[in-house]
Amino acid sequence: MTVAFLSQFFAVYGSLVNFIGINALLALSLYVTLSAGQLSLGNAAFAGIGAYTAGILTMRFDVPYPVSVAAGAGLSAIIAFLIGLPVLRIRGIFLAMATLAFGEVVRIAAVNLDITGGAQGLVGIPNKTTTYTIYGVLAATVYFLAVLRGSKIGWSFAAIREDETAAMALGINTAFHKTLAFVLGAFIAGIAGAIYAHLNFIITPGEFGFSAAVQLLIYNVVGGTQSVYGPILGAFILTALPEVLRGVPLAAGPLRLGINGVILLLVILYLPNGLISFFRGLNRVS
């Protein structure tokens, strides 16, 4: 009975469950960077780099799936390091500006290159990602980030986010830790992109553009960044909402963005720490 129900549920909502997992992973990629007080608008592009790299490696070069995922994530991290190195030595919103521009560069490159398949996208990526892969990676990421938070690195991130000058005076190498937070975020985004590519048969440049980058930020704002579970909650609610509202006339279609906007507005006005603040116990490390 339960088994029959579950298999039926999966037949209908399997892809939704998968997308929730991927979006949660993408939301966490931005959460790491935000936890050090840095705003990256490039995580969608890093997911794109991971997706295209892994897709091309498996399709053209017959590279085993885990290796191409690792390569996609690794390349994202390396590129993030090269961008972050000059930008993160300075304070302020320069990372947001640089990554915003970088995201467009990646999108336009993907549209114009031959190896990426141009505007039609990369077609025929073998389907190797399962729901187990997605949630296995998500669980590992959550565990890693939860432990990271209580480690020396996590406390440094938190100190920089609160007051960079005070953090410096306490002996924290702020440029190093900001770069680390950014590179770690790009790495997780790269993994998410790579497993997404092998879930979907086709990837197109538009999926990794500016609106996707902002969507990740919205997951974090709606869910809240006080806890690792906040961004996951945000990704879950905003990914599932259109499905839940499918029966309501117009809601799944033209009204969807409007409903997202209303939720975002209400959270910003009334729950500055996000929806996760309903679950108090998860919020603090100590």
Binding site: V147, I153, W155, S156, A158, E162, T165, M168
Partner: protein, 253 residues
């Protein structure tokens, strides 16, 4: 000589914040800096902690040049500070503020934690005890779980001192540590600073409360328009005609 200022100068645009400041701070003493507003006291502390670079001159810590090091390297030499305008991590609790201040003194390595090694939790417990003892040395251990932003002004100053102490400093730079404190709190801080100096910590202290400085400091440097007027014992400084003219006024100590 523990800390030596050698003709340190620093200008902001056309303003000479510090001009060839030279004096020496002896180890394990409490050394005061006084002077009118805008005389360069905070700039001097900023130069020592590396937040502001010196245009010229040298700063020597136990004979080693330190004025070109970035702030985090200076902190690693055992130099901790507080800020005149209080820079706490306001969304953290008091305990968390001190934990964040343990960056250089606690391990909290990632790998043993990921592997859930028993050594990691033993270390964490020890670090938390250390953090609590920092809080109790400034008398706010009962506020450990309170958010920093919910503290009173005096408590905030004390928490900032506790956070600086988490670094286990050899040199503590305090920028107006008792501003806004009540008399009883001031007395508590006085005995805390004394016991720190007895334990071997050198304290470089800016404060406008002259009776406090007279009681506490073994030597005082007077700044005026970025220049050193004099350095000497509190009694000598008080009797110095230029100091009376520039800062103290007649019959103030």
């Amino acid at each position: 000589m523990f800390l030596e200022f050698e003709k340190i100068s620093r200008s902001f645009g056309g303003v000479r914040a510090l001009w060839e400041v030279s004096f020496v701070v002896e180890a394990a003493t409490i050394h005061g800096i006084i002077g009118p507003n805008g005389s360069g006291k905070t700039t001097l502390i900023n130069v020592v902690s590396g937040l502001t670079g010196a245009d010229s001159g040298r700063l020597l810590l136990e004979g080693r040049e330190v004025h070109r090091l970035p702030p985090y390297r200076i902190a690693a030499l055992g130099i901790a500070r507080t800020f005149q305008n209080i820079r706490l991590f306001s969304n953290m609790t008091c305990l968390e503020n001190v934990i964040a201040g343990q960056h250089l003194t606690a391990g909290r390595a990632l790998i043993p934690r990921l592997l859930r090694l028993p050594s990691a939790s033993v270390e964490e417990r020890r670090c938390r005890e250390d953090a609590l003892s920092c809080l109790s040395s400034v008398g706010i251990e009962n506020r450990a779980g309170a958010l920093a932003k919910s503290l009173s002004y005096g408590e905030r100053r004390r928490l900032e001192i506790a956070r600086a102490m988490a670094l286990k400093p050899r040199l503590l730079l305090l920028d107006e540590p008792i501003a806004g404190m009540r008399q009883r709190e001031i007395e508590e801080m006085e005995s805390l600073f004394r016991s720190l100096a007895e334990a071997g910590v050198t304290i470089l202290l800016i404060e406008h409360n002259m009776p406090f400085m007279m009681r506490l400091c073994s030597r005082i440097t007077v700044l005026h328009f970025g220049q050193t007027v004099t350095t000497g014992s509190p009694e000598d400084v008080c009797a110095h005609p230029e100091v009376i003219e520039a800062y103290l006024g007649v019959e103030s100590c």
